[in-house]
């Protein structure tokens, strides 16, 4: 537990700065940010509240990073991103209902995402597809409420600091 607390020491500093003193740190770690089916409403609400606080901390950390550093586009990741975008378009070109879109620097400057939306995403060349998954940092597929399926290739490090020294 002590090691876990070291890992979260920045988070604890954040809680103190924000004046949040009722955060149940041990329960947060034990529950691993998940709710059990047998949790009652109060436990679920507490878990969600803890999650919101943790997400606010992540948000602040990233915003601080963006504010305190001179950032430039990362040429390697931009190149990877373009390669994956063009190849994904080729992989689903026979699917007339498929849309392929890209977003860069949203919601954070460091992030990029390529999205495929179609009722039924069929990949006939899995070997190429797997190479794309491995280039991306995250890969996710989930059903949408409109009956379609969404596939995301997520990229990190789309921008990098010009140097490691913070501008103050």
């Amino acid at each position: 537990m002590a090691e876990d607390k070291d890992l979260f020491s920045d988070f604890v500093d954040y809680l103190n700065e924000e004046g949040i003193y009722d955060f149940d740190f041990e329960e947060f770690l034990e529950e691993n940010l998940e709710c059990d089916d047998d949790d009652d409403d109060d436990e679920v609400e507490e878990s969600m509240k803890n999650m919101d606080i943790f997400l606010s901390y992540i948000d602040k950390t990233i915003r601080d990073f963006e504010t305190n550093n001179n950032l430039m586009l990362n040429p390697k990741r931009m190149c990877d991103f373009s390669k994956v975008y063009e190849t994904v378009k080729l992989l689903v070109k026979d699917d007339k209902k498929a849309t392929v879109t890209q977003k860069i620097n949203e919601p954070y400057l460091t992030m990029g995402c390529i999205t495929v939306i179609s009722p039924n995403i069929i990949i006939k060349n899995p070997q190429t597809f797997v190479k794309l998954i491995n280039i991306a940092d995250t890969f996710e597929v989930f059903p949408l409420t409109n009956g379609k399926t969404q596939m995301n290739f997520g990229f990190n490090d789309m921008v990098i600091p010009l140097d490691k020294t913070k501008d103050k």
């Binding site: 009722p119 039924n120 989930f142 059903p143 009956g147 399926t149």
Partner: protein, 115 residues
């Protein structure tokens, strides 16, 4: 819920009666497919899957489908990514009720007899 290999074994057993002879069943390929099924079990468990289905296609390739709420692969999920690499094709379909069906098609377990 039965495991993936139990579902696949049932379908393969039924197809065996129909295809052999003249085709020859490859035990080696079946053992490899058993490993794939084990990985599919893991994916299904991690992403709240509820069922499996399997079918033998016209060209004797085998398709295994399973449902799940969603999938999210990061760098630690290489086992899952490599499973897709072994497939001939893969399909992601919204089947309603916030569930996704993933269908992976693998090479045939049956070969023509050597002359």
């Amino acid at each position: 819920m039965t495991d993936c290999f139990a579902t696949v074994s049932e379908v393969v057993s039924s197809a065996n009666k129909r295809l052999c002879p003249p085709l020859v069943f490859s035990e080696e390929s079946f053992d490899i497919l058993k490993d794939y099924c084990s990985v599919i079990d893991d994916i299904s468990e991690e992403f709240d899957g509820t069922s499996f289905s399997a079918e033998i296609n016209k060209n004797n390739t085998i398709s295994i489908a399973f449902d799940c709420t969603d999938i999210l692969f990061g760098k630690r999920n290489q086992k899952y990514v490599q499973l897709i690499n072994r497939a001939i094709s893969c399909e992601f379909k919204n089947i309603g009720n916030s569930m996704l069906e993933i269908k992976l098609t693998f090479p045939s377990l049956w070969t023509k007899p050597k002359p």
